[in-house]
Symmetry: none
Subunit: 393 residues, 2 copies
C-alpha cells in the first residue's frame, strides 16, 4: 500500500440526498435556489465535479451511496436488508450473526396476507409484541427480536454453523400466504429449519393479536467483511452522524462512532471536541434527504440554507482537506432517491481549483473533476492530504 500517516486532517461532509432537479416554475434545483454563501465561497477555492455513486442511471440505496464515497466498490460490498435494518437501530452485529428484516402483518382465517404492515401498528405495540416473540427458543440458534419503528423489527439468529443463504417468507404482496423460507444452498438447510420454526411459533403466539397476527421475514444477511479504512488508508477515522443507519455504515467501514447530538451545530461542536484525536472525519447531514423524500421543495432548500449557516463552525478548523458531497440525489419533484449525479467539491492547499464559483449541479459540471465515479474520492482525498506515496519507480 502506498498510504502513509501524517498529521494532516480530512473532513468529509456528506449531505444526504444533496442532488436535485429543477423546480417546474423557476427552472432551478433546490441547491440552485438556496442562499448558500459559504458553500459558494468554498466552491470558488475547490476542485469541483459531479459524482456517480454506482453508475449512470442507477439509483443507489443509502448503503451503496455511502460505501462508494468511503472508497468501497458498492457492487462488490453488498449490504443485505436485514443487516441494514440492524445497523439502523445501532445494533452491533457480530461477524456470524444472521439478520433479517421483519414486518408484523395481518393474515385472514386461511392464512392469506390481507395487510403487509399490520395497519402500521404503533412502535409501542411493536415493542410489546417483540418482547413476546423474544421468548421463542429454537434449538441451534439464540434468537433476538428487536423493534424498529411501527410494524418493522429485526430478527437476529446467533449460533454455530448458520448461513444467510435463505429465501424470503415475505411474498411482497397481499392475497398470498407467507412463503416457506427456503435454503438457497444445502448448508443453509439448518438455518432455514430454524427460521421456519420461529415463524411457526410466532404465528401461534400472535393468534388473536389482530391486526399484528403474523410476521414476514426478508433480506437474511450477514455483516460483510469490509477491510477497514484504517487498514486501507492508515487513517484514524471517526464518524459524527445523528441517524443510526449511518453510524452503522461508518462502523462497518471501521470508523469510531462519536456522539452525534441533534443538530448540525451539535455535530460540528462534536467535531471541535474530538478534532485532535482523529485524522479523518465523516459528518452526515440528514435533513436534505428527508425533505426531498417528503417532496417538499422549499423545506429542502431551507435544509441546505441551515447547513450553510452552520458551516463557519467547520471552516474555523481549516481542515487540510475538506470534501463536501452527497450520497445520491433526492429531488423533491420525484420525492425519492434518484440516479442523477451529485455535486462534489474538494478544498485543500494542493487542489487545482477550477472556474466554478457556485456549488450547484449545473456549475459543478464545469468543474475540474467533471463527472466521475464516487469511488475515486478517497484516493483524491488522500493525495490532497499528502498521505499517498508515489506509485511505481
Amino acid at each position: 500500500m502506498i498510504s502513509r500517516t501524517s498529521p494532516s486532517k480530512i473532513v468529509l461532509l456528506i449531505i444526504d440526498g444533496l442532488g436535485g432537479l429543477p423546480h417546474p416554475e423557476t427552472g432551478k434545483t433546490e441547491l440552485e435556489s438556496a442562499k448558500k454563501p459559504n458553500l459558494n465561497r468554498i466552491a470558488r477555492d475547490s476542485l469541483c465535479g459531479l459524482i456517480d455513486p454506482v453508475s449512470p442511471g442507477i439509483t443507489p440505496g443509502s448503503a451503496p451511496g455511502h460505501l462508494a464515497i468511503f472508497g468501497y466498490d458498492p457492487v462488490q460490498y453488498h449490504i443485505g436488508r436485514g443487516v441494514l435494518e440492524a445497523l439502523g437501530i445501532d445494533l452491533e452485529l457480530k461477524p456470524h450473526d444472521i439478520a433479517a428484516r421483519g414486518n408484523f402483518c395481518t393474515v385472514d382465517d386461511k392464512g392469506i396476507i390481507t395487510h403487509r404492515r399490520a395497519g402500521r401498528i404503533s412502535t409501542d405495540r411493536n415493542t410489546v409484541l417483540c418482547r413476546l416473540l423474544s421468548n421463542i427458543t429454537v434449538e441451534g440458534a439464540e434468537i433476538s427480536v428487536l423493534p424498529v419503528k411501527e410494524h418493522r423489527f429485526v430478527l437476529i439468529l446467533r449460533g454455530e454453523g448458520l448461513s444467510p443463504e435463505l429465501g424470503d417468507s415475505d411474498p411482497q404482496q397481499i392475497g398470498q400466504a407467507p412463503k416457506k423460507i427456503e435454503a438457497l444452498s444445502p448448508q443453509a438447510q439448518k438455518t432455514a429449519d430454524i427460521a421456519n420454526e420461529f415463524v411457526s411459533r410466532a404465528r401461534n403466539l400472535l393468534q388473536g393479536k389482530t391486526p399484528a397476527n403474523m410476521v414476514l421475514l426478508r433480506g437474511f444477511s450477514r455483516r460483510p467483511h469490509i477491510p477497514s479504512i484504517s487498514e486501507i488508508y492508515k487513517l484514524k477515522p471517526a464518524a459524527i452522524a445523528t441517524y443510526p443507519m449511518y453510524r452503522g455504515l461508518a462502523r462497518l467501514a471501521g470508523m469510531k462512532v462519536l456522539p452525534g447530538g441533534e443538530s448540525i451545530t451539535d455535530q460540528l461542536n462534536g467535531l471541535h471536541r474530538h478534532y485532535a484525536k482523529y485524522d479523518f472525519f465523516f459528518i452526515h447531514y440528514k435533513s436534505t434527504d428527508a425533505r426531498g423524500e417528503d417532496g417538499d421543495f422549499p423545506a429542502k432548500v431551507q435544509a441546505i440554507e441551515e447547513l450553510d449557516e452552520a458551516l463557519p463552525g467547520l471552516l474555523s478548523l481549516d481542515p487540510d482537506v475538506l470534501i463536501i458531497t452527497g450520497d445520491h440525489s433526492t429531488p423533491a419533484t420525484l420525492a425519492m432517491h434518484s440516479w442523477h449525479p451529485v455535486p462534489f467539491m474538494l478544498k485543500s492547499k494542493w487542489c487545482r481549483p477550477d472556474d466554478v464559483t457556485e456549488f450547484s449541479e449545473r456549475a459543478c459540471l464545469a468543474g475540474g473533476m467533471g463527472r466521475f465515479p464516487a469511488t475515486e474520492i478517497m484516493p483524491l482525498a488522500m493525495a490532497n492530504a499528502l498521505k499517498l506515496d508515489k506509485f511505481g519507480a
Copy 2:
C-alpha cells in the same frame, strides 16, 4: 435484476454516422451547418453529451456501434463478418448455422488472384452464379449460396457438429493464390474439409466464367448468443429500420422488426401505428451515413435537415423518454466511419437539463453527460422511464 415494467415508452432514434468534422472552409461540421430547429429545441430540454461507441480512438463498424447503444459490450459480443453479411440480406440465421462472407474474384491460369472483386460483376450476374454454386452438395452440411450485391455473396453451412473456428481463404490481396481454409481448433477440421471441398467444386463450376472464375471466403462465424432486451430490461422492444443489416442487428437483440417503409416519414408513420403495442422503439435513419461515406458534405447536411423536418411526426407522440444519437461518426471530409465521439441527447420529464441549446458536436461537449461510453445509454433510458428499482438497501 432491478428492471421493472411500466407503461412508459422509450424511443431511441439512431442517426447513422451522425458525427462529423468541420468543413475546411466554414469550420463547421455537417451538424453545425444544418438548419435543424427541431433538434435544437429538443437539445434545450435535454440532457446532452457525447458518446464513445467502443472507446476513444476506435472506429466502430455498424454492428459494434449499434450493439453498444443497445447496452451490449461491443467487445464481448462480437459479430463475425459472415453473420453481418447474412443479416444484411434479411436472412434469419439458425443458432448453429455457419456463415461466411464470399467474394467472386478473378484468378489467372496459375490460380493467382488478379482481381479480388471480379471487376465488380453485376448483381444479376452474381445471382445467376450463386444459383449455379447452390447445386454443390458436400456430405456433412447443407450448403446455401446467397447473392448480396455486385461481387458479394453469403455462404451458409448448416449441419451437425460444425464449427466456425476457421481461417479465411481470402488473402485480402492480389498476386497470391487463395489460401486453404484452416481449422483453428481440432473440432473444426470437419468444417474446414467441407469448406475446402466447396471451394474446390466452385472453382470447377466457375471455370471459363471469367472474370468471376473463383471464390474467396472470409469471416466464418456463427450468430452470437445475445441475451435479449426483453430478458435484460423487461421491455417489449420493436425496430423500424429501412436497411436489412439494421433489422438484423435489432433481431439479434430480440426486437420485433416492424415494417420499415422507404423514408423517415414512412418510418414515423409506422411508429404511430404500432405505438400502443410496444414500450421501446429503435428507429434507424440511414441517409446521413450514406452521404458521409460518399464524401458529400452538402448532401449529409441535407440529410440532417430532412430528418429535422420529419421530427414533428415523432414529437407529437411525446414519448416519456426520447433519445437521439448516432452509432458512430462518418465525417464527409473523411468519407468513412471514424472514431470521433457522437452527439447524444435524452429528453424526459426527469432528465436534469443542462445549458446546451444546440444539437452539435461542440455544444454537446458541455452537456450534463459529458463524454461517456455508449453502453451507459440503456441504464439511463431505463432510469428516466422510471423502469429501474433502487440498487441496494
